[in-house]
């Protein structure tokens, strides 16, 4: 399919057009996303926030081609997504490491799958392991590492394959607060250097503001874009320091206003679903 024309000369890194998505759930057809449009510029760090169950993760799966939308289309670099995009990096909430491979073998796996020569993949894997601060742990197995360290390995795995676009699905939500800030700063440093396009899904407004160029607020189901806010805080940023700036609080208040209603209605939906499930069981 031909790429859609866009205002600028270069096509957007990611574009979603009239996306609708439905799930069949217990015989009921559940619309999750309905008529969603979104465009992400190249090199942009964009966060997606929204109430739980609004299909944030589904969006990332659509962009990566892991699942097709019910209708509408996703475009990556102007190309219609109709198969799994192997040029996209994806970080899941779980660290998704292969437990039987050492750190080095885990980080080298994407290169192996891309048929990179053995020496090259080892060299590149070692570089990224050093970048995420895990030199000396090359031969450790995942179970020997802490949660934060596993997350670093997972980040190295994502980056080593040199993706153009990185999709992150609440990657740090399982970490404790301190480790989390460390990882966020690390991610910022890497992003500052590599300038990849990042789509970052989170439920944490502060995290979204601290990291992003723009924050997209999604509505409760059926999901649409509720608001888009530009974050004009200076870069490079330190995610801890930036939280004490005055404009940070203004942005926070603004975004929370956008979200409040949606969170409440999302909560209502979850309770209704739980009640229905309870009724089904009886």
């Amino acid at each position: 399919m031909r790429a859609p024309e866009s205002a600028s000369h270069k096509p957007p890194a990611v574009e979603l057009r009239d996306i609708c998505h439905r799930f069949a759930q217990g015989g009921r057809d559940l619309p999750v996303i309905e008529g969603l449009n979104l465009s992400v510029k190249e090199g942009e760090f964009l966060s997606i926030v929204g109430p739980s169950g609004c299909g944030k993760s589904t969006l990332l799966r659509l962009i990566s081609g892991l699942s097709p939308p019910t209708s509408g289309a996703a475009y990556v670099n102007g190309e219609h997504v109709d198969r799994v995009r192997t040029d996209v990096g994806y970080m899941f909430q779980t660290d998704a490491l292969l437990p039987w491979r050492t750190v080095l073998d885990n980080v080298a796996l994407p290169l192996k799958l891309q048929k990179v020569r053995r020496q090259d993949r080892e060299r590149r894997a070692r570089e990224w392991i050093a970048t995420v601060g895990l030199r000396g742990f090359e031969n450790s197995f995942p179970h020997q590492l802490s949660g934060g360290m596993r997350k670093r390995v997972s980040l190295a795995c994502t980056m080593v394959a040199t993706p153009n676009i990185i999709l992150m699905d609440e990657p740090f939500s399982a970490l404790d607060v301190q480790t989390r800030s460390l990882m966020e700063n690390e991610l910022m440093a890497i992003w500052q250097r590599e300038r990849k396009t990042v789509l970052f899904v989170t439920h944490d407004l502060e995290e979204a503001i601290a990291l992003s160029d723009r924050v997209v607020v999604l509505s409760a189901r059926p999901t649409k874009v509720k608001a888009v806010r530009t974050i004009d805080l200076a870069r490079p940023r330190n995610v801890l320091d930036v939280r004490s700036e005055l404009s940070f609080h203004q942005l926070y208040t603004q975004l929370w206003e956008d979200m409040r209603e949606e969170v409440l209605s999302g909560y209502e939906q979850e309770r209704a679903a739980a009640r229905m499930q309870g009724a089904d069981k009886q």
Binding site: S64, L66, T86, F92, P110, K112, P142
Partner: protein, 264 residues
């Protein structure tokens, strides 16, 4: 914990408990407190083993039994794993075949021994088949479960890195199932030996099971105990060997908690 208790729980204590038990058995037998007809005594059992050894009974029969167990184990493991893979990747076939597998699985397969003896005679073949039927289901179940337990994120990620079906099978499915299969196999080894020995009980002319059965038919409990003692030694040795192999192959797994708070 008191000092005696502390010593008891160590490896020396374990050996001491076993020695103590054997001494008590021997002592009560010598004093005539227990009937030698029913309980024999460690020295009598040892004598039987010595005589068997002198007559060259032990290695031939042990080799026979272990060969049955080993060949059956390999055949069962290969077939079971293959079936597990086939069913995991062919869901349509799985849907048809699964109920049969479930029925066979809940059927006490050891009771098939007489059937195999009628079919295959008194040699090694019926025992090998019995062991293989036994192991096949265990390996099939483990492989099938292992394959279905692969976290979907692992698959998704590998696909995004351009993994082909073959890549997925080799780099993700097989190693993931391997840990299940290996763990299952270690548990199966005991069953393989049972299969072989019970097969020999029911019809055979050599093997440790045959020695034990001969003892039973002559009402010589010391020969029954001697055969069982040989089995015990073999079982402990094999179990130790397999633990070593397993912990090497599965060294990537977190150690099972030593505190003993495991659920199963």
């Amino acid at each position: 914990m008191s000092k005696t208790e502390h010593i008891l729980s160590g490896p020396i204590g374990r050996v001491a408990v076993v020695v103590l038990f054997l001494a008590a058995w021997e002592g009560t037998a010598r004093l005539g407190w227990i009937s030698p007809f029913f309980f024999s005594s460690p020295s009598e059992v040892f004598d039987v083993i010595r005589v068997w050894y002198a007559r060259g009974h032990i290695f031939g029969n042990m080799g026979f039994t272990l060969a049955e167990a080993f060949i059956g184990l390999v055949i069962g493991a290969v077939l079971g794993t293959a079936i597990g893979f086939a069913l995991a990747f062919l869901p349509r076939v799985a849907a048809v075949v699964e109920p049969f597998m479930a029925i066979m699985n809940s059927f006490p397969r050891l009771t098939l021994a007489p059937l195999f003896i009628v079919w295959f005679g008194f040699g090694m073949a019926p025992k090998i088949v019995l062991v293989a039927t036994f192991i096949l289901f265990m390996c099939y179940l483990n492989a099938y479960t292992g394959l279905r337990q692969v976290p979907p994120e692992l698959i998704d990620r590998a696909r995004l890195w351009g993994a082909t079906r073959w890549d997925l099978a080799r780099d993700i499915y097989l190693p993931s199932a391997a840990s299940w299969i290996l763990t299952g196999l270690r548990a199966s080894v005991g069953f393989a030996v049972i299969g072989a020995v019970v097969g020999e009980y029911i019809g055979g002319d050599s093997g440790i099971g045959f020695l034990i059965l001969t003892g039973q038919s002559r009402l010589r409990i010391r020969e029954v105990f001697a055969g069982l003692a040989l089995l015990l030694i073999a079982a402990i040795f094999i179990d130790y060997l397999l633990r070593r192999i397993e912990s090497y192959l599965l060294r990537w797994r977190a150690e099972a908690s030593a505190s003993g708070h495991q659920m199963t």
